[in-house]
């Protein structure tokens, strides 16, 4: 095994991604998220995309989130794209080996999708097919590099050349709240070195801890090499809050958040949860190095327009060419 070091290419636009353009022109970016159905029904996607259009710069479609079978991200992105909204395909390393991953990347590129988020993938044991074999032929960092080399050097992982490169804006996830904490910034550095263009973080409820992580990021100058979007999400109910606090690995929900929601009546909780989300958006906007937010309102997509508006992030930039 040899260690590899690479340099990210700056300057001109790498892709046709709307998100890339928003970020490169210095705007505070907003991305959203869309969970595909466990079904072959395309209408669900269309409906959700219509809600988000105009309120976000691009929208993620999750891929086998928590190892549950749903419509493949790339397919859902193709459907949603027809609504005129830039989509971010997600791919995990859990389900496909490097052959399938590269094949799908070529396909995504050919289909005119512009963004790809590379993830390791939740362990299969969490999903509805716990007996499945977890592939993990490559990990998220290796996948980032694979996409980058395909895009910028037109090279496959084996070294073979491809005539037409997939032009994908490369994203990765990072969790400032996971353990080991001291490794979270170096891990980000690895993703940046591998070629990540943008990062979406795990949902921020603990703003202080997030700020601490951002300081580490800035100390290494990483915020200048990669665009960081802070994950935010409204909370719909006390149950949802508690679930996130206790049952989701790597989520940090401070007691103050629980207390805030407990301070209002049951009927008011979701309203307060929306206010909370807006507050956090405003707070993270003030942190140096944060280039945008990633709004995750899974199965509550209809609330995203209100959040984006209330946070003063409307209208979204348009680039007419």
């Amino acid at each position: 095994m040899s260690a590899v070091v690479g340099e990210p290419i700056g300057g001109a636009m790498k892709t046709k991604s709307n998100l890339e353009r928003v970020l490169e022109t210095g705007h505070f970016a907003v991305t959203g998220e869309l969970g595909p159905p466990q079904s072959a029904d395309p209408e669900v996607i269309r409906r959700k995309a219509r809600i988000l259009k105009g309120h976000v710069d691009a929208v993620n479609v999750t891929d086998g989130q928590t190892a549950v079978v749903r419509m493949a991200s790339w397919a859902a992105c193709m459907i949603g794209k027809e609504e005129g909204l830039d989509h971010i395909v997600q791919m995990t390393c859990r389900d496909r080996n490097r052959i399938a991953l590269q094949m799908d990347i070529l396909g995504i590129g050919a289909l005119g999708l512009n963004n790809l988020l590379c993830l390791t993938g939740d362990h299969q044991k969490f999903g509805d097919h716990p007996t499945a074999k977890g592939v993990y032929d490559v990990d998220s960092i290796q996948l980032i590099k694979i996409v980058k080399d395909m895009r910028d050097d037109r090279k496959l992982q084996c070294g073979g050349e491809i005539p037409v490169a997939p032009r994908l804006f490369i994203g990765a996830a990072e969790n400032p709240f996971a353990d080991p904490f001291e490794f979270r910034v170096p891990r980000l550095a690895k993703k940046v070195t591998a070629g990540a263009d943008f990062i979406q973080t795990q949902i921020v409820y603990n703003v202080d801890k997030f700020a601490e992580w951002m300081k580490g990021v800035r100390d290494r100058g990483l915020h200048e090499r990669v665009k960081i979007l802070a994950g935010v999400a409204p909370i719909k109910s006390m149950g949802a809050a508690r679930y996130m606090k206790t049952r989701v690995p790597g989520m940090d929900v401070p007691d103050s958040v629980i207390e805030r929601l407990q301070g209002v009546t049951k009927e008011q909780v979701s309203r307060e949860g929306i206010k909370l989300c807006v507050d956090i958006i405003n707070q993270v906007r003030e942190i140096e190095g944060v280039a945008g937010v990633h709004v995750m309102a899974i199965e509550w997509e209809e609330i995203v327009p209100e959040i984006v508006e209330t946070a003063g992030l409307m209208p979204r930039p348009r680039f007419d060419q």
């Binding site: 590899v4 390791t120 032929d137 290796q142 992982q157 353990d179 080991p180 891990r187 070195t193």
Partner: protein, 203 residues
């Protein structure tokens, strides 16, 4: 090291029905693990069908099995099926030496960390052919990470525990701790290239 569990009774019974049986039971790895009470309870319950039974050690050893088959030729001949309690290796050896007889296994085989020893280790070696231990402070992520990752922990590690089980240490947490304590934290930032999962053995 291989260890066995006895298959569910229904599964075994549905295979052997009321056939007359010759039973091989291997105790070669009893000191690793062998559920002798469960096995004997089952064998005793089949008493009426048993032509004969023999307890051996190292049913994986072809030469020995051959001698047993010769010595018990008559009983094996009388039996309509041969039921074997051993790991998959022993069953395959018996089956290969008794090609035209119905040979069944009463066990499922699992693996405990280690090779041919008797004491299970708290680490393991997957014999992957490209030892990574120099980049991980001597702790193997291929054997011990649930996703066998090479570039650090996934985002699911919680307080040093793996996302799939709160009792299982996150091996990457251990690796990070070790490298940092050795002053080798920089090693963590080396980009590990995709692994060759099919390294050939030495000729």
């Amino acid at each position: 090291m291989l260890a066995v569990q006895i298959k569910p009774e229904e599964e075994i019974v549905s295979l052997i029905a009321s056939k007359m049986l010759f039973i091989f039971e291997c105790l070669g790895c009893r000191d690793v693990h062998y559920p002798v009470e469960t096995a004997h309870e089952l064998i005793d319950s089949l008493q009426e069908q048993v032509v004969d039974r023999v307890t051996v050690d190292y049913l994986c050893h072809r030469e020995f099995v051959q001698e047993y088959i010769q010595a018990y030729a008559e009983q094996i001949e009388k039996a309509q099926a041969i039921l074997v309690f051993s790991c998959g290796v022993g069953v395959q050896v018996v089956s290969a030496l008794l090609e035209d007889r119905r040979v069944y296994t009463g066990c499922d085989t699992i693996h405990l960390n280690g090779f041919q020893g008797l004491t299970a280790k708290e680490y393991n070696c997957e014999q992957c052919g490209e030892c990574y231990l120099n980049y991980t402070g001597g702790i193997c992520p291929i054997a011990l990470c649930a996703k066998h990752l090479l570039n650090g922990p996934c985002g699911g590690s919680q307080q040093g525990k793996c996302e799939i089980d709160p009792e299982t240490p996150c091996v990457w947490q251990q690796i990070v701790d070790r490298l940092v304590s050795l002053g080798q934290g920089q090693t963590l930032e080396k980009l590990g290239a995709p692994k060759n999962w099919n390294v050939s053995p030495a000729p």
